[in-house]
Symmetry: C2
DNA sequence: TCTGTTATTGTTATATTATAACAATGTAAT
DNA sequence: ATTACATTGTTATAATATAACAATAACAGA
């Protein structure tokens, strides 16, 4: 599950660790604040790590929130098909893993028959706790 | 089709006009630059208009690009179910209107049976022109 | 018409998110 | 040792967005 962490650089590990420990998406500058004790002092150090981690699928960016969440899939390489549920009240975010949904969207074609190699879907609502 | 524009305030009309004239999504500060001749001098004036226009569905925000695009639906009130195709080469963006897709997503339930009142979907690929 | 209420606008300042540019260091193969 | 390449460190700045408050306009009810 965490095997691939071995291939990560020092800074990438540090940033991934802090995101994985968080139950919720973290903002870049909140990450920066939290890793300053580990020696990462400047934004580029954090953003570089974030870029790489997104690229390899260890984390995902929640675009509507400018925040980053750890990927909980066992494989953690799915960077091209992401879906999230976001509670608009408590801002709780969960990754949705529905093979039915991902099949449907991965096979989606538009009117001109164009297919896509990547998508990101964000659902919004009020979660059970907040209801 | 443009009936509802009557209910918009002066600044809202100015901002909507410029976005509607653009074939592509516009960034907030590009909008600001373009409306300065019309008297809107500061970011808050643009962002307020953008917020309102998004709220009433006249425009949509492309979250992955921090840009705003005019809604081409006749009704222009659909603010809660949006889907876009984005070319990663030329950055061309089109709103997808597929009743099949919107039905599928509007009815989607997660594992706990939770339904959502809103979603935003962004597809990425290479458009025909760029291929 | 007056008056209170609400929406809209104008304005300054500042917060938040993200990248450019370049120097320094580490790593690993030859 | 030398080269090549990835990673890190650092400073500065760009790009995106909001807070806070004053001024004005729009408008309904007394």
């Amino acid at each position: 599950m965490a095997q691939k962490k071995e291939y990560l650089s020092k800074n990438q590990k540090i940033v991934l660790d802090i995101i994985e420990k968080s139950a919720q998406p973290m903002k870049a500058y909140s990450i920066l604040f939290n890793v300053q004790k580990k020696g990462l002092k400047a934004p580029p150090q954090v953003y570089r790590a974030l870029d790489k981690l997104v690229e390899i699928g260890k984390i995902h960016k929640i675009e509507s929130r400018n925040a980053f969440i750890a990927c909980r899939n066992s494989a953690c390489t799915i960077t091209n098909a992401t879906a999230f549920s976001i509670c608009e009240s408590c801002e709780d975010v969960k990754e949705i893993s529905s093979s039915k949904l991902s099949k449907y969207l991965s096979n989606f074609q538009d009117k001109e028959g164009m297919k896509y190699n990547k998508y990101n879907l964000e659902f919004f609502g009020i979660c059970k706790k907040c209801k």
